[in-house]
């Protein structure tokens, strides 16, 4: 289709021209997803580590649940957070619906299970290898958990990158709790949805190119980290 080629060249012109609106949308996307992944890591990493090294009743069930929550549909998370933050809902008095804060919360809810479940797996694998030696040296549970977190830091870093990628790429949650308000809560993914439905393909494609580039860069970064880590630290 000819229009695809035209759309691509128009998109390229937009990107090269460093359109101010485009920059604002991209900047907001990065801020929201970055803040969300930071919160998700602060919550999910200790949780994953704790489950990895502790033994308790219902542990297996909790692991299965956590793994299942990785597949939470973003649009469902959006709906649930919307119901929470709506004026008619329990946290309505906070008045943060349709603001970036709400988007950060929704994305944090979405990716905390991912970080918790994957870090749990990584730390548990390491724990199997290290457990006896650490106990022999006299490390108690919490010290052991922290040692394991540090030792698996490169794998954990790629997990965090994966979480960030998932947040930056989703549209369902931020659309519902953010409202896609021009200049306030419009991010790359919601802008692409809007421009596509308006039939304004060049802008949508331009944003799409930026988004794909971001995802590719994240994956490349993860690969580089793995390489460097292996060579330097073994």
């Amino acid at each position: 289709m000819n229009s695809l080629g035209e759309a691509f060249s128009a998109a390229w012109r937009l990107l090269a021209g460093f359109d101010a609106e485009l920059a604002q949308v991209v900047g907001l996307s990065l801020q929201v997803s970055l803040a969300a992944v930071v919160i998700a890591t602060l919550l999910g990493l200790p949780l994953g580590a704790a489950i990895a090294v502790e033994r308790f009743r219902g542990r297996q069930t909790l692991i299965v649940l956590l793994n299942a929550l990785m597949g939470l549909p973003p649009v469902v998370v959006g709906l649930l957070v919307y119901l929470l933050l709506s004026r008619a809902g329990p946290l309505g008095s906070l008045g943060i619906l349709f603001t970036p804060q709400a988007m950060i919360i929704a994305q944090a809810v979405l990716i905390t299970p991912i970080i918790a479940a994957l870090s749990r797996q990584t730390i548990e694998d390491a724990w199997r290898e290290y457990d006896e030696q650490l106990r022999s040296l006299g490390a108690r549970r919490i010290t052991a958990a922290m040692t394991l977190i540090w030792d698996t830091r490169f794998s954990l870093m790629t997990i965090v990158l994966a979480g960030f990628g998932r947040a930056a790429a989703e549209v369902g949650a931020v659309m519902i709790v953010g409202g896609n308000i021009d200049g306030v809560t419009r991010v790359m993914t919601t802008a692409i949805a809007l421009e596509t439905s308006k039939g304004d393909l060049p802008l949508a494609l331009g944003l799409g190119i930026v988004l794909i580039t971001l995802v590719v860069l994240l994956n490349a970064l993860a690969a580089v980290i793995r390489e460097v880590a292996l060579r330097k630290y073994g």
Binding site: E129, Y130, E132, Q133, R135, S136, L137, G138, A139, T143, T147, W150, D151, T152, R153, K232, Y233, G234
Partner: protein, 236 residues
């Protein structure tokens, strides 16, 4: 802490008895080798003594030492060295820091020990990129730095080449000379002869012999030991 007394110690995993009613008294002084064919239960016995496992029956008693104290005054080196993802020096310092020493003390002591085991050139290198023999030397250094009363070693040279094995054996002797009690497992007769002062012979989870080394090799009391010395496969 010594003598170490094992009273009818048993360990079962599910229905299978891995250690079956072992009673023994291990004194301070001689280098003790726990000898036996593969699958006899030597590694499990070591872990029971060191406290990594709890016996399902019977008890492990250290003489006069309180519970918290006991762990800190022992150390263990495993068949496969477990190195933390940090420098060789940091690995040795890890155990010392856990024992509550100041950073300065940790560093000095660690450097000393690394010097003795011949790794002074490698202190800043990442521990996990060292060779197998170097890593095992590092593991010994890490254990020795803690100044333990008892050092357990579980088949420490099983995966190493002869040159590395030789290095390790020398270090073990040096540790013994410095006053630490050595308790080691091996299935290698030659090594037992080189390093042992007394033998605990284990077969099928039972303690069959506890004798000084010369008597063990000249006049083994049990048919299993005799077969083992001759290099035959044990019959059930």
């Amino acid at each position: 802490m010594l003598p170490l007394e094992l009273n009818a110690v048993s360990f079962a995993a599910g229905d299978t008895a891995i250690i079956n009613g072992i009673t023994a008294r291990i004194e301070a002084g001689p280098r003790t080798i726990i000898l036996g064919p593969n699958g006899a239960g030597k590694s499990v016995l070591m872990r029971l003594c060191h406290g990594l496992f709890q016996p399902t029956a019977g008890s492990v008693n250290w003489h006069g030492a309180k519970n918290g104290d006991v762990r800190r005054r022992q150390a263990m080196v495993f068949q496969r060295p477990v190195m933390l993802r940090r420098s060789a020096l940091a690995n040795v310092m890890y155990g010392l820091k856990l024992a509550g020493k100041s950073r300065r003390e940790c560093e000095l002591r660690a450097m000393d020990v690394l010097e003795v085991v011949g790794l002074a050139q490698h202190t800043a290198r990442a521990a996990r990129v060292l060779s197998g023999g170097e890593q095992q030397r590092l593991a010994l250094a890490r254990a020795w730095a803690l100044g333990p009363d008892v050092l357990f070693l579980d088949e420490p040279t099983a995966n190493l080449d002869p040159a590395s094995t030789h290095d390790i054996e020398n270090i073990i002797n040096a540790i013994h000379a410095s006053g630490t009690k050595i308790i080691m497992t091996t299935h290698n007769l030659g090594q037992a002869r080189r390093l042992g002062d007394e033998i605990l012979f284990i077969s099928n989870g039972r303690l069959l012999e506890h004798t000084p080394i010369d008597r063990f090799f000249k006049e083994p009391a049990s048919p299993e030991a005799a077969a083992f010395i001759k290099g035959e496969l044990p019959w059930h």
